[in-house]
Symmetry: C2
Subunit: 205 residues, 2 copies
């Protein structure tokens, strides 16, 4: 997919309500919490638990996940390498818009390729992209198998299944590594919140 | 606007912060204000003025326009009929996500085809899609020609230019018709705000 802008005759103008204005209104900073990891590692579970904790603090949040993306914006995309790349490209763009709107946007996708995650990071203003490697051994993910997908993948019923028949490229420099096979959800949530406080995206305890 | 959650009656279901929860937090309803009209009719000007007025009331808003969409999410799309349709489809999906996040999302695109606007309306929950026909005569738009595009289009330098060499299908049942060649920006803004109050998306004066 070309990164060229095809449109001609469009001009870029400065918007009126800035992200700083929005942060003032909200009482917290905007950011993207990009959860990445194997199927079953706990990305969605953790993203939902973090969102609940943030919402209780009055923060403005939104989760992008398979439920609201694969059935909507990206309904035209499959699971080929090209489509996975375009899938993540679009998610990165939407997360950026959400972040620009002042939201703490949480994304919960396997997003297995380093280069695709880097694309999402590169379009995001410095310091606003927080990669959360949701780390869990393949063995444990396969034991959990909450949707029965590993069983199907092992049986050859799902082609190109990450961790089985397609690669997962673990982050090398994630802002956060959350080990869901070693700590419970509450501890993982606290780890994420502590990071947001340290970065002064959350200003209060 | 308070950052505290105003109602203590919010209940959390596992994994879900609902749009109703977000509206309680925000103190206003969520909606899509879909501005449609010719180039130069005043869609972006009006959307920005409405956003400023809403922001001053503490409302959570976001504008999707050519600036942040054509250079980002839809950078792979041109101006062929198929690409215009896909352009509007994706914008509709993103507006829906923004709305689901509790935002009053304003979109400012020519969006010339009835069927494409209907697609955006049809994916949005009942009553949340507010079509704002930004009505202005072609003659007046061409007189304004703020970006010099009509001049280029008349000279044949821009193919498929809406109103000149490509059709604009005016809305037949828009929730709002705002006549920018008859009223000034302030009056048009007040018309939009009055509608939002009538619909109880804005609760206060």
């Amino acid at each position: 997919m070309s990164r060229e802008i095809k449109s001609k005759n469009i001009t870029y103008t400065e918007g009126n309500v800035s992200q700083e204005h929005r942060s003032e209104l909200n009482g917290h900073g905007a950011a993207i919490l990009w959860f990445t990891g194997l199927s079953g590692a706990g990305k969605s579970t953790l993203a939902q638990a973090v969102e609940q904790a943030l919402f209780k603090k009055g923060a403005h949040t939104y989760i992008l996940d398979g439920d609201n993306i694969r059935f909507g914006l990206n309904r035209d995309l499959g699971f080929s390498p090209e489509d996975r790349t375009e899938n993540i490209r679009r998610i990165g763009e939407v997360a950026k818009l959400m972040m620009d709107a002042g939201t703490i946007c949480l994304t919960a996708f396997i997003s297995p390729y380093i280069v695709d995650r880097k694309t999402a990071r590169d379009i995001t203003p410095e310091g606003k992209f927080i990669e959360v490697y949701t780390k869990c051994s393949l063995e444990e993910c396969e034991n959990r198998d909450p949707k029965g997908l590993y069983k199907k993948a092992r049986a050859g019923e799902i082609p190109q299944f990450t961790g089985i028949s397609a690669p997962y490229e673990a982050p090398e420099n994630a802002e956060l590594v959350v080990e869901t096979d070693k700590h419970d959800v509450a501890a993982c949530v606290e780890q994420v919140l502590a990071y947001l406080r340290k970065r002064e995206i959350l200003l209060e305890d």
